[in-house]
Symmetry: C2
């Protein structure tokens, strides 16, 4: 398996290549999933229309998104599934292993540690931390829970380069600071707080509370608009 370097960096004399617009970037993993599902079904070619359908987007948007990584479709034919899949994987950096530490081994942290969706996509959970002595030392999947006091040591030992924060909101900023100080520059946070980090650190947030509240807004609106539902008119 040869890892092709990027021959098409010719446009820029130096510099890290073109930036992918954030909105497009966020869709690439979805395309990748659809493509890999097709690969599993031995589909070799796909049109923008078909792939867009599978990804739940308009075909023009898909074509524009893919055009940011180069133009490797064949006019009149479509895209080579395997090639595009590989291209997206390479762009996302999935050709290397990412070593992920999970900080916080509560219900959520333990569930994440056992979540197969991580491992199967180039992410390996290599450490799991908690502050609770009743949890430290216990086994979760293949991992033994470490004490958060050993955070810095263990991160170095395991070569962690990404972290998942699944700790209570009150301690999230503090642990985030420690992760950053230890050199972690990519953090996925499940804590319902706004984390302050230096500019070079990437934080992505997953917030189930927020998502439910957004759903509640729409649900309430639908309720009010519905003719069938009686006496629900708050006011």
């Amino acid at each position: 398996m040869t890892t092709p370097d990027f021959p098409e960096t010719a446009s820029g004399a130096e510099g890290p290549g073109r930036e992918i617009p954030p909105a497009s970037l966020a869709r690439l993993p979805i395309y990748l999933r659809a493509l890999n599902a097709m690969l599993a079904d031995s589909v070799e070619r796909v049109s923008s229309e078909e792939l867009a359908e599978a990804a739940g987007v308009k075909s023009a948007m898909l074509r524009k998104d893919l055009s940011y990584l180069g133009s490797f479709g064949t006019r009149g034919v479509g895209y080579d599934v395997q090639f595009v899949s590989h291209k997206i994987s390479a762009l996302l950096g999935l050709t290397q292993e990412w070593r992920v530490a999970i900080v916080g081994a509560g219900n959520l942290g333990r569930a994440l540690a056992r979540y197969s969706g991580f491992t199967t996509r180039g992410f390996e959970v290599v450490a799991l931390f908690d502050a609770d002595q009743g949890i430290v030392g216990t086994q979760v999947g293949w991992l033994t829970v470490s004490h958060v006091d050993d955070l810095e040591t263990e991160l170095k030992r395991t070569g962690t380069n990404m972290a998942v924060l699944s700790v209570p909101a009150v301690v999230a900023q503090e642990l985030c600071d420690r992760l950053v100080a230890a050199g972690v520059t990519s953090i996925l946070s499940f804590a319902p707080v706004v984390l302050q980090v230096p500019a070079h650190v990437q934080v992505r947030k997953v917030d189930m509370g927020t998502e439910l509240q957004i759903l509640a807004y729409h649900a309430q609106r639908a309720q009010e608009a519905e003719p069938g539902s009686r006496a629900r008119s708050a006011q």
Copy 2:
């Protein structure tokens, strides 16, 4: 394909509710959290500058966001914390109880069922389903896991009006269809698939795999830009 003869201003803008732009709507829960934290600290007034800081946004954006729900700040002074908090809560429909069913009682589903972040914000988990006979009947928090065969019956009995999907990708669409058929119109999905639903059903997706892949993109980029990619972790 679809002819864009959508009648704009279809819904008479007369009602108490204009549409909140999606981007603004997604930030309201964050403001709400910041406001509630302030309330807990007995803060009575806040300026757009301060609240924006707490929410991690620019003050002009915060003011514009709040302006969609009305204008209830005092010029020269700021906003009444309690009042704005209540206003946002009401808009999001958090003044009523939302009854949530969790479909899929694997690692993630069970963690979500025990997650206190739900209960504390107007969302009550009232049902938990799984297809695995080894899990059905077991206790998770205050709930007993029901068999997914009884989905429709239990949804009706519990008065569920929101659902969380935490099932394997392969069965997600099928269960989504059953939820929709049973009248559920708000679904939060953790399954890494694009769900097809009728237009009146709201789906929000949480995808940890996608988030990690986006992080990987940035991390790889930083790696390439940096000459010494060895994480020596110098304090």
